[in-house]
């Protein structure tokens, strides 16, 4: 019996090891190519050992496209998106998990149904909304802000929040308003002249906030929070917002981390949508900038590989250490506990 298992183990390793190396090869060669001169990349046999030209290639990449600026854009866009999306989806998920209200079933079914609807169906209207008729979009945002302020004021009044909580709420609202203006700045002049959101950070961030997987995932996690904890707080007279932020929220932190990582990664790697709404080199996100280089004939491939490395390696390192959270985010919605 032991011998048979040892043989099985041997055959298993014999089959899987070449496959694993094959799977790692593109990533290893990406690293190697990023450190070689052009003549090294296009030589036979394929070089397998890194060279010393990384900085030179980075300079080429900077000359071809201002890549470090686009990395900055990507960090900002993905960061703001992740933060906002976490707030929106966890609030919505909490509402679906913890309250009963008129229309809950219909709205939830509608949100979940979009999980199986191809993104292509909405991309054209989204584009028209953002790049062609942004005045409607702006009107809608202003309306949402006013409604949000009213809702906040209402809940502050009805829940008799402490003064600090009210101040906190208004401060958050003010920060959101300032951020809204600030993130639109790069093309604010453009904005008023043609009423387009093209080339703004908001153009990239806003449509993706309608992320239904996040709502589903957060709902599942809030459902797992023991009701007794929330009821106890309710009996103690805590407001609903306080229960949400101080009791429910800390309990789902690991889920938030998993979702946050996946949201950031998705935004970081997104290509089609930023390609559509960004056409100014300074506003490009990193994938858009790199994508424009791939199609060119006279271009530094060492530079492109440096770009690919800069986009990829931070996440490979994160993946090594936080694999648990990545996997939890990826399996979200797949496995019912």
């Amino acid at each position: 019996m032991r011998a048979r298992e040892r043989w099985r183990s041997f055959w298993l390793h014999l089959a899987i090891t070449p496959l694993a190396l094959l799977w790692l090869a593109p990533l290893w060669l990406m690293l190697v190519f990023a450190t070689l001169p052009e003549t090294g990349i296009f030589s036979t046999p394929t070089p397998l050992v890194p060279g010393g030209e990384f900085m030179k290639n980075l300079q080429n990449l900077q000359a071809d496209t201002n890549f470090l600026r686009t990395i900055f854009n990507s960090v900002l866009v993905s960061g703001v998106y992740t933060l906002l999306s976490l707030i929106l989806t966890s609030m919505a998920g909490y509402a679906f998990a913890r309250f009963n209200f008129v229309g809950k079933g219909v709205v939830f079914a509608l949100v979940i149904a979009t999980l199986t609807i191809p993104y292509f169906v909405v991309v054209i209207p989204q584009y028209i909304l953002v790049a062609r008729e942004a005045r409607w979009l702006l009107a809608a945002i202003v309306l949402a802000l006013i409604l949000g302020a009213l809702a906040l004021g209402f809940s502050a009044w009805s829940q008799r929040l402490s003064r600090q909580a009210q101040l906190g709420g208004w401060a958050a609202f003010a920060i959101a308003a300032v951020a809204l203006v600030a993130l639109s700045l790069p093309s604010l002049g453009n904005l008023f002249a043609e009423v387009r959101l093209t080339n703004t950070y908001w153009a990239v961030i806003l449509p993706a906030l309608a992320n239904s997987l996040g709502v589903f995932f957060m709902r599942q996690n809030f459902l797992a929070v023991p009701v007794s904890l929330l009821e106890a707080a309710r009996i103690d007279g805590a407001s609903e917002w306080r229960i949400f932020f101080q009791i429910a929220f800390p309990l789902v932190r690991p889920a938030m981390a998993a979702l946050g990582i996946i949201l950031f990664l998705t935004a970081w790697n997104d290509y089609l949508w930023p390609l559509l709404v960004l056409n100014d080199k300074e506003a490009y996100t990193a994938p858009v900038a790199l994508g424009t280089l791939v199609g060119l004939t006279r271009v530094s491939w060492g530079g492109i590989m440096v770009g690919a490395v800069l986009m990829t390696v931070p996440f490979l390192i994160l993946f090594l250490f936080l694999q648990r959270y990545f996997l939890a985010g990826i399996t979200a919605g797949a496995v019912k506990d």
Binding site: A20, I87, R98, T114, F120, G148, E240, M311, I330
Partner: protein, 285 residues
């Protein structure tokens, strides 16, 4: 208590505002747009301008054929490989699990643009790594990016590299939720590993596999970045997918009406495939 009743809406409102604006309305809007002639100003209602053109458009049919080819060849291949990998990674006989997991799961964090650039380079005809490898076995070089069949193979290989690990992660999670007692009982009954796989493992992961299948099909129907960047839909239109064709019609020619019709045909295909799967595999789950 009346006040309490409004509270859930304040939690929902911010998300629902974005959802209504960027998903609910666009779903309806693009359906309407697909019935409009958007090549005249102002746009006019025309029920056959786009859908009529669609059925006669040879480029659409070629894009559809390419997409379905990838769907029918790549998806089953990838899922079979993903099941095998998941079983291997779940096996107690495997040493160095961390290394193998990293090798197969790492592509999950790599962006489509980054790996498309890398694969374009690897499949370079003159001295790409793949042709160099072929040469070391004394095999003739293949003109990967400029031969229709080979270009399609490159797309299939690239997607398989990126998504096999992703599906293996999901299947692995499914495997880990199978009760161990089932296997212990099977061992006592003297069932071989092969028999155990067919009668315990596969039936247990059927719901998870179905989930992977649905996601893969929707993903493949929307394939865009890889053919766009690696082969630019070529040579000719040999790797033009529905995604690439929609991009060309919608955002190169700015014919929103026609592009909306293409988008809705993708949605129709997704719906048909989903229904088909439910009928075939989803009976009791």
């Amino acid at each position: 208590m009346r006040q309490r009743n409004l509270i859930p809406y304040t939690f929902l409102l911010p998300y629902l505002a974005v959802f209504a604006l960027f998903w609910a309305w666009p779903i309806l809007s693009s359906l309407l747009t697909s019935f409009q002639n958007t090549r005249v100003v102002p746009n006019t209602w025309d029920f056959s301008a786009n859908w009529g053109r669609l059925v006669q458009d040879p480029f659409f049919w070629e894009a559809l054929r390419n997409t379905l080819f990838i769907l029918l060849v790549q998806v089953p291949l990838m899922l079979a490989l993903a099941v095998a990998l998941a079983v291997a990674l779940n096996s107690q006989l495997l040493k160095l699990k961390g290394f193998y997991r990293f090798a197969f799961f790492a592509p999950v964090v790599v962006g489509a643009v980054a790996y498309s650039a890398v694969f374009r380079l690897l499949f370079n005809t003159q001295s790409g790594a793949v042709n160099n490898l072929l040469a070391s076995f004394s095999l003739p070089p293949i003109d990967w990016l400029y031969n229709p069949t080979a270009a399609m193979a490159v797309i299939v290989i690239t997607i398989t590299w990126r998504w096999t690990g992703y599906n293996a992660i999901i299947i692995l999670a499914g495997l880990q939720s199978i009760p161990k007692e089932l296997y212990e009982a099977a061992n006592i009954d003297g069932a071989s590993p092969w028999q155990q796989f067919w009668s315990i493992t596969l039936p247990s992961i059927r719901p998870v596999l179905l989930f992977c299948l649905v996601l893969s099909i929707i993903g493949t129907l929307q394939l865009f970045t890889e053919p766009f960047l690696i082969t630019n839909g070529g040579p000719g239109n040999a790797t033009t997918t529905l995604g690439v064709y929609l991009y060309q019609q919608g955002f190169r020619s700015f014919n929103f009406g026609y592009a909306s019709a293409i988008a809705y045909s993708v949605a129709l295909l997704a719906a048909v495939f989903s229904l088909l799967q439910m009928r075939l595999f989803g009976r009791d789950s």
